[in-house]
Symmetry: C2
Subunit: 232 residues, 2 copies
Amino acid sequence: MKIAESHKEECKSCIYSSPLFDGLDEEELAFLAKTSSQGFYRKSEVIFNENDEILRFCFLKLGLLKLSKKDEEGKCHIINIAKPNDCIGLLSVFSNTHYKYSLTALEDSIIYYVDLAALKHVISNNGKFGVKMLARISEAADKVITTTFEINNKNLRGRIAYILLDFTENIYKKNSFECPVSRKEMGQLIGMTTENVIRILSEFRKDGIIEITGKTVKVLKADFLHTLQRLA
Amino acid sequence: MKIAESHKEECKSCIYSSPLFDGLDEEELAFLAKTSSQGFYRKSEVIFNENDEILRFCFLKLGLLKLSKKDEEGKCHIINIAKPNDCIGLLSVFSNTHYKYSLTALEDSIIYYVDLAALKHVISNNGKFGVKMLARISEAADKVITTTFEINNKNLRGRIAYILLDFTENIYKKNSFECPVSRKEMGQLIGMTTENVIRILSEFRKDGIIEITGKTVKVLKADFLHTLQRLA
DNA sequence: CGCGGCTTTGATGTTCATCAAGTAAAGTGG
DNA sequence: CCACTTTACTTGATGAACATCAAAGCCGCG
């Protein structure tokens, strides 16, 4: 795992350098660092499962994650995708003893763990930092609520357009990317069947809107996707 | 407005008595009380609108509210219903300068306002209180995410069953209640057309599962609704 | 080499939105 | 207070969008 190895040395100082911990003094950082650790996960490895006990607060340094949840019938739904510095790991951390969601790596990823009790202790003694955390958690929640809302109001073509644009514009910031999710996962993410994901991707390919080569997806007509997304 | 009048005198002390402000000392409470105010809203009055500037933090003392949002086509969707002590007003308050949702009274309601800057100031100086606020916001966000998730995974009959059970079991805690939402609003809340809300309510009525008399809804066979809700 | 999961395409069926049309209720202005 | 207008409610008929089912090729993995 190349990525992980190359980061191993600098990792001791990661807590010190992360923007998440801006505003903490030396002593506070050292206190958190004492209880912190890191994990390296390969694509498709599970970081935590729904109903696991919450002992640590985790955040993503490098990679890509999916936050998912099973419905009553056991069918999996992807709630959101998290990229580095998204504070998706914050959801339900402060209000529950057990996770309500599962977290899985979509790409090789590096996760930082901080003991939750230690974090709470630091916040207790540093209210300004608490206000920042409030902003972070608020942002993470808004992101989940907003994307769910937007996806729900679109038809199938609009949903595929939305997710393709999300990958090119927000996640990878280039019009060609290695698709981190299978067709099945894409369906779980935007609430449609695998079959229809495939059908519509093929349609887009035939219409020259995208190009697919193995796992690589290239968006040729972003404007078109924007239009589709809007009126769907 | 009877309810409001009867509460007017005791309201000065409301900040002191609300569980939301547990753990604050006299001085802090007095500081917040200085910038706080209250509002009385009749059914269907707007508390704030999407895109309004966020200047105050608000919470519901008495009544019932709906949190809603317009989609690209201007169609309204209800994100959640808030009852007293739900901290729905917390969403996006700490991460945005403008509201992402609208808040409207479903019943005559009493709202407390606290100046947001003052609240942040108190949190800055009292981290323990900050941790409590983190729990509250986390809970509010989880509630929205969870209910949206659950509603999305049901068919129309299951959705109606879900919302009827939510009213009887969580909101009013009795099997007969004055329905606070119109058929149209019910549709906006659970993502279906007004026509289908009516059709399925009629069906439930004909099947003897519920009884409808004007605005009053009475659940006769809760077990049946539970079953419907599950396998839908 | 063979098994299971992922992918693809086509045919079929169901669920639900839309359209239409009419009644009841509630708010508005003279 | 009554005519008028608008908004809410209700039922039925139609069609479109989407899920489900089926079947076959593909790829990676033990």
